[in-house]
Symmetry: D3
Subunit: 269 residues, 6 copies
């Protein structure tokens, strides 16, 4: 979707350069190399497809509430693509904590250690922003494992270090505090709530500057393929608009423009 | 704690009646009759003990975050005492819903049907107020089973009917909407988050007009006994204050007043 | 829906009195007398029908977002039934105010004066709570005209006086401030936003302690009739539950219980 | 302002009883008896005057932001009149706490002990609702001293006991927690912020169900006298409205009605 | 206002470079070329004048609430100047939607198509952030028409694409969702509420990183001219401060410095 | 903490470059030069030490609530180090304003004029965002005096100019409005509340992108020294992780790795 448009509008004294310069999205090499062959294809498409185009297919597939816009990305202009690995945190409580932590390490450790390349860690901290569920050191382990991003309904520590890591992190706010004494990890790889969306382990997540699209694994192929198809048409529509044509007839295409589109598609091959 | 104080303050022209008329709290008969013998005792004490006195013991036992004050009771001046039966709700999602609802009935049904006398249903709906997790009819089943109250981090339907039932209900707001299409029940008898407090199945809950104290079952006996002990002393302290004595020396008791308290206690037997 | 249930539960030592005492809702005489014949019937039914039953029909008719639960009623346990008369308020602005107020009186005056018996004044003040859109004196005029209630997405003045008037008022908070200098009235009898619901002039509004159901005029007859029908069945279901029957099979009715219901209906005639 | 109106509206089949039954406000005897002679008069008037009438004079005197509507009264339908005694609380901090508490007792103690009859304790807790700044026992001391009410931008403990005391308390929410470890008292009798209003020690406070009017001491006499004057006119205006007259000409009074008002006033003497 | 100050402070070992490097603001060529002659002048001045200087004049002219700071710009460090074209959105409702959409296209289409060079589209979506009122394709049409910016009290789709367009967009959050099923457009070119400010069609809007100044068209010339005048004085004041002079006497200027200012102004010609 | 890591992960086809590129933090020269010798050392260390490492020591020293994360920095990726100079603002009120402003200049003037090199101005405006407590001109005086940053629980004017000044500013939002008529300054160099943290005059403040650590002056040396010590160990731990070692045994170090750490430390000297 890299577009640099030279706009010639009749009636103007000179040509105007209207730059609409969407950066091309690419899967980082440290992730791509370690993905399985099918994932390499799937993740690559998820990197390129329009997020609104995918949203439309996800909704059509029966998932109307699939976009999280209550968290902020800590980096501008960076798409995140990955597979959800989920955790649930609850307000700290001595008896439950004793039981949970007797059974295994805290879940930010465990998830960093067990992460597969292309995973996104998803922490449901109930929106609590006064304690960080994880920090720079455990996140470095996650990054080395091929981690693709983080989504926290709550807070992370070490925000400057996270900003220096070349992947995207979504959260409510950062905080210097450790997870205790306010929170504790409770459940691993269970359905969780992030913003107003339910996320399941294995969901495909696509993040942009305005939020995160949650794609159930079963429909991911269909979603991304139909979206890419749709994106071609939108590219054509944008071209017409940049030539100065009216929005009516172009978006959506009327019959005449559908014909032009068919020809345009042929000519591109 | 039923107090009706005739206050004689020296220097006033006439005696003033300063009524501080805390109603006596009683376990409702429809619950009490069906409780086991030990529960009858425990619940009875939980009905009478000062909630702030119990709070102090719960904190001393290592549970500093144990009071929920983010929900509103729908009835004035009614204490709730019961044992937590918990449920977790998440934003609705077709695939998870299909799986969960294939495995059994929606959890407001199940919990109403399986409730034991003295139970309090606890719904963690993530604070969502645009859909009711349950309503009047299922709640009537719960009431008939000996239900003692409800705590909803979200909304209930049929608020007028709930107001007509003689037990307490805490929630964020009411709503006429059914649970779908916004929410679905996911987990039964798991740790949940209500306000900023973790509630476990089996916790003893004591609700008042300002909120709900969460008492881990293991410490409940100790909590209520120490609190009742403490309440006796506070009763004495209030008596002194109603006689017009200074707060200094009375709260906390200085040595002289500790002596008077010892005598007062003896005299009451 | 006035129910006083004597509950006999087998296995208990004695009968328990489980009161579920929903007050009967009646249209106030000062409104009823002045309604047209068809409205007398319609309003009477709207007073009696279950608000959740009506909600279900409104949704089925294609209006999924029809219940306002962001405002608080100022009186406990009082149903409001009426027809919407709407106003839009905006932040005060000298030039627009001059224009609007040159064209006619402030809209709280105009609406009080022009109100028809059974009207509910609906003020969209954008949620602003630092200025009252109207107060006791103009509201008295509205009451005398047969006003049935008020719905304010904002604040009213003279809350104690409103509490003394025998109709329901919904608002965010009260405030002693006059409408100026913060707000001004702008539009009369236009579509407005109250909470997250669009209200049109002429909508039927039914308010309860948990909020206000918005019924488009065109479907009001259908809504209330189907709801009353449904209420009869729920009455039967509640009876079964009060006898101690399981929720399964009763709610919804299984085939056996559908038969019993048919007989029960006959027997009541 | 006790009004019980028999409304005769022409064209109706029978007379309607439109009750607008504002309860008469009276200073409690336990306060009144202990006030100085001038305060007895001032407080008495403040009990009777319309709060909106007083608001208008306070604004005219140059105090446009003088009404606190962000707190809730814990009792319905009870006016509070008193003089502000202020305290400032801050988030707890070891070093400052050591210094402050070395210099004297915690301020809820000190203020209860030093309170004068007719005082209202004003706690600026910065809106913090997770810790109670004071509780039932110290408040009983305050009550015995002739305390007239409490205003807390934060939380109180022992809400049921406060509800049983016959004075008004305004707060954000209740909480069972003691003041520590979250808050500490820092400043006594300094200007504080309650909601969005600055309160000074010595201000006259008049509370109603919708909030608290803050009247600088210097203008209190003027405010209440002009308000009472204005209330007489509003009484006349309400009488006209209850007779069915139009709001136009009555509110505000046109020339003809001003004449009628002059006569009406004479006739009442 | 492009300042690069070399600060020489006596007593320091070496000169310090204190850069205060405000970028010069320029009207984009694609807009400027298409403006009428008077607009070219007006917009040019609005691009350069200090926003706080203009704010002061707007307030003096009788518009105290004229600055919107509740929305976020999606681009850093970019001024927006334009003329308001307003739309009102409401929660979706079948009957009203049918009526509105029968009368013409959705208003994001219509406004993009009818936009004049230098227009700013203003969407009042009531703060709703769960649906985008418009997206990249219609916005491209608007851009080609000479659109100068967008102000949305709600959300937009296609945030990455909007970020790539070289004009400013203010909104609450982005969202991938289309406008339906949550919202619908209702009114075109009417007064709307954005944050807590009323915006009229034709208002001049000047946006900066902290918000948007709303200037009624009638006073725009006066506002910008007086502001530019004032900016000259502030430039002089900043120069004095950068020389290390005290704030007292400089801001505001005392008599001695007023003289220096007069000379400085002369010297600049 | 400047790290550029070449990551060689066994089993991959080629080496991956995982950049974790935390910028080195340096005290600006215009501040450093004017600091006392001990402050030069202290501030230099505070610039370099990990903020989470310092947080841990501050908490250990008895200050569990010491991190402000409710405000936003206006610049990305810039650390702020300085000493708190505090002010308290309250809602404007004629009588108090007259008294306060008779006693001396408004506190943003006074604090700018009296600031010492390395000071951070701390404005407690109670979270009010509709009026700016100070603006560009007074801030320029502060900058020239060696000001190191600003922390405002409220709003500032002239945000674009502040963005052009090379120091950090934390606030809730910007606003074009002057301080009046909404706020006024009341107290200078007193304890204040920022977010949920009490700040005292003289506290050392360290700000990063996620918030501000508040360090009581008495413990500052200890805090920064222990933190720097700890940072060395974390550097070692990150090195191990970047080599692909497991988080277990590395964080925290097990006995084997403690030995490796000891050797590593030696080898670095």
């Amino acid at each position: 979707m890299n577009r640099l448009a030279l706009l010639l509008i009749p009636g103007l004294l000179c040509a105007q350069l209207l730059k609409v310069d969407t950066p091309e999205r690419r899967l980082p090499a440290y992730i791509e190399e370690r993905l399985s062959a099918p994932d390499k294809v799937l993740f690559g498409k998820l990197m390129r497809a329009g997020i609104e185009s995918m949203w439309a297919v996800v909704v059509r597939e029966g998932y109307p509430v699939c976009f999280i816009n209550q968290l902020d990305p800590i980096k501008p202009n960076m798409r995140m693509v990955g597979r959800a690995r989920t955790m649930r945190y609850l307000p700290n409580r001595k008896d439950l904590r004793a039981k949970v932590y007797a059974a295994g390490p805290q879940l930010n450790y465990k998830s960093a250690e067990e992460a597969q390349p292309g995973d996104v860690l998803v922490f449901d901290a109930g929106g609590e922003t006064q304690a960080g569920v994880s920090g720079g050191v455990t996140t470095m382990r996650f990054l080395v494992r091929g981690g693709a991003g983080m989504v926290i309904d709550g807070a992370m520590r070490d925000q400057p270090e996270l900003e220096a890591m070349h992947f995207q992190v979504y959260m409510r706010r950062g905080h210097a505090s450790s997870v205790s004494p306010i929170l504790m990890s409770v459940d691993y790889q269970v359905p969780v709530r992030i913003g107003n969306v339910t996320v399941l382990p294995g969901d495909l997540l696509v993040g942009e500057s305005h939020g995160i699209l949650v794609i159930p694994a079963d429909v991911a192929e269909k979603v991304v393929n139909e979206a890419l198809e749709h994106d071609v048409q939108e590219e054509f529509q944008r071209e017409l608009l940049l030539k100065g044509e009216s929005i009516y007839g172009v978006y959506p295409l009327n019959d005449a423009n559908k014909k032009r589109f068919a020809e345009w598609k042929k000519s591109r091959r």
